[in-house]
């Protein structure tokens, strides 16, 4: 990929972008589709412009951790598939995939979005564990927002599988009507700083030209549950304040689209 870093930084100063968008505009279309995989307990496909990611929720029953004997758990895993970009190679997740997974995980975990106590079946012995796998189909930038949207949509769509009351075995072929106990609905928005200007929903090219970024996960009440600063340039407190305003506002925007696409 040829990166027009020079052009991107100069345009940003004039509030312009290479693809003609405003600095705070998302690409179109933003599409969210749930139940795209019958084998997952919950699943979603999210498209933002040319970026496409899938999220799948699998549930299993396991022994609770010793320090939280009356709680279940969640895991978030990201696979940046070599199918989705010439820059990705086969092999174990690298730093980029791990950061993306951990930031998405914290947004959900720290907001206490899932009622972990309700996932417990028998304290100290059995609890539900929820695993969210996020995978890329086409990475054209802004995986942070896409991954967060896809995970939330997949969690909202997820239904528990049937458990045999005698053996305790899970019948993955049959789903109950019971949904996951979601208390909050956190969404992450990442704001990028390029040449002193702030923008959202970067393309891959813009992602290679940024100075700093801040990911902000917030719930429906505007309470922040996770932050992650990236990039080798510092941010002043004034800038952080500005970034938070943008992120909270854009989270509202994404939430509206999510609810509309899912029919709520």
């Amino acid at each position: 990929m040829i990166i027009n870093k020079e052009a991107i930084t100069q345009l940003a100063k004039a509030n312009k972008r290479l693809d003609g968008r405003g600095l705070l505009d998302y690409r179109e279309p933003i599409r969210i589709e749930t139940n795209i995989s019958w084998t997952a307990e919950g699943s979603a496909k999210v498209q933002i412009g040319e970026t496409v990611v899938l999220a799948g929720v699998k549930m299993s029953i396991d022994k609770p951790y010793n320090d939280t004997p009356d709680e279940g758990g969640i895991t978030v895993n990201v696979e940046l598939l070599p199918l989705s970009s010439p820059d990705y190679e086969s092999g174990p997740p690298g730093p980029k995939a791990i950061e993306l997974a951990r930031v998405t995980d914290r947004g959900i975990r720290e907001a206490k979005a899932i009622d972990m106590k309700k996932l417990c079946i028998k304290p100290g012995e059995k609890a539900w564990f929820v695993c969210i796998d996020i995978i890329t189909i086409n990475d054209a930038g802004n995986l942070f927002d896409a991954a967060s949207l896809a995970s939330l949509a997949a969690l909202k769509a997820a239904k528990f599988p049937v458990v045999d009351p005698k053996t305790g075995a899970i019948d993955y072929h049959t789903k109950t009507e019971e949904k996951l106990p979601l208390l909050k609905e956190p969404l992450a928005v990442t704001v990028y700083k390029i040449n002193g200007c702030f923008l959202v929903d970067p393309t891959s090219e813009e992602e290679s030209s940024y100075d700093a970024r801040l990911s902000v996960a917030s719930d429906d009440n505007g309470i922040i549950s996770a932050l992650q600063k990236g990039g080798n340039t510092p941010l002043s407190t004034e800038e952080i304040s500005k970034v938070l305003d943008i992120a909270l506002d854009k989270a509202k925007f994404l939430r509206k689209i999510l609810n509309k696409e899912l029919g709520f």
Binding site: I36, S37, W38, T39, A40, S43, E50, V52, L54, G56, V57, K58, S60, N77, E79, L81, P82, L83, S84, S85, P86, S90, P92, C131, D133, I135, I137, N138, D139, A140, I170, Y172, H173
Partner: protein
């Protein structure tokens, strides 16, 4: 007991509902979406591109490399741990063998064409879906090809030969044979043949005849998907 009616009510030679689309992954040089019943495959082709490690480079011909992978949530049971496994390695290998005969390797000496196939959901017949999707993606990428390859899993369930068997038929409580077959459209030559189960030679030949007709239907769909991509109003 004789298998007179299929578990999902299809006719013996009837394939599951299929969908095919070319060029669904903008980052790739060529791509395809292929759906067969509840099995869904995405294929992406990258290349020809530089081949590493360098000692694999051949100045006479290029290399075709297939990567088959099931996504963690695509199995009908527990979550599948990501990272390769023996099954995926073997299927990648037979996929390579199924597609190699139609690809003109001399067109990209020293280089590699990578094909990645991923499944968001599966219901048997994944290696066949992978080959069908990969064939469309290769053509979409403009890789020089002699022919198209289409694949289908023929089954024999309790004595009856059926086309495109699904998971419930594979799990049918009787003798079940699973025969994935890939064929080239022009020559009708077989490029993939595997089988597990128990079958007589007579029935196996019958299965191959059935595969001929079935892969022809799939070929028509592959061609349609490519035409749709390259037709402009």
């Amino acid at each position: 007991m004789v298998y007179t009616e299929r578990v999902d009510g299809r006719k013996f030679d009837e394939l599951r509902h299929m969908e095919a689309k070319a060029g669904v992954i903008p980052n790739a040089n060529g791509a395809a979406y292929f759906k067969m019943g509840n099995t869904v495959a995405y294929a992406a082709v990258y290349g020809p591109r530089e081949l590493f490690p360098r000692f694999l480079q051949d100045p006479k011909k290029g290399l075709l490399r297939c990567h088959y992978n099931m996504l963690p949530f695509s199995g009908s049971g527990e979550r599948i741990r990501p990272g390769g496994n023996r099954r995926a390695q073997e299927i990648s290998m037979v996929m390579n063998a199924a597609l190699n005969p139609v690809v003109d390797l001399s067109a990209f000496p020293n280089a590699v064409v990578d094909i990645y196939v991923e499944f968001p959901q599966t219901d048997a017949g994944t290696r066949c879906a992978a080959i069908c999707a990969a064939s469309i993606a290769l053509a979409d990428a403009g890789i020089p090809m002699r022919d198209m390859v289409a694949a289908v899993a023929i089954g024999q369930v309790d004595g009856t030969v059926v086309a495109d068997i699904n998971y419930n038929e594979e799990a049918y409580p009787a003798i079940v044979s699973d025969i994935p077959v890939a064929m080239m459209h022009n020559t009708k030559e077989v490029t993939l043949l595997q089988m597990d189960g128990e079958i007589s030679k007579k029935d196996l030949m019958k299965a191959l005849e059935m595969a001929k007709i079935a892969t022809e239907k799939i070929y028509a769909l592959q061609k349609k998907a490519l035409k749709e991509k390259f037709t402009y109003e």
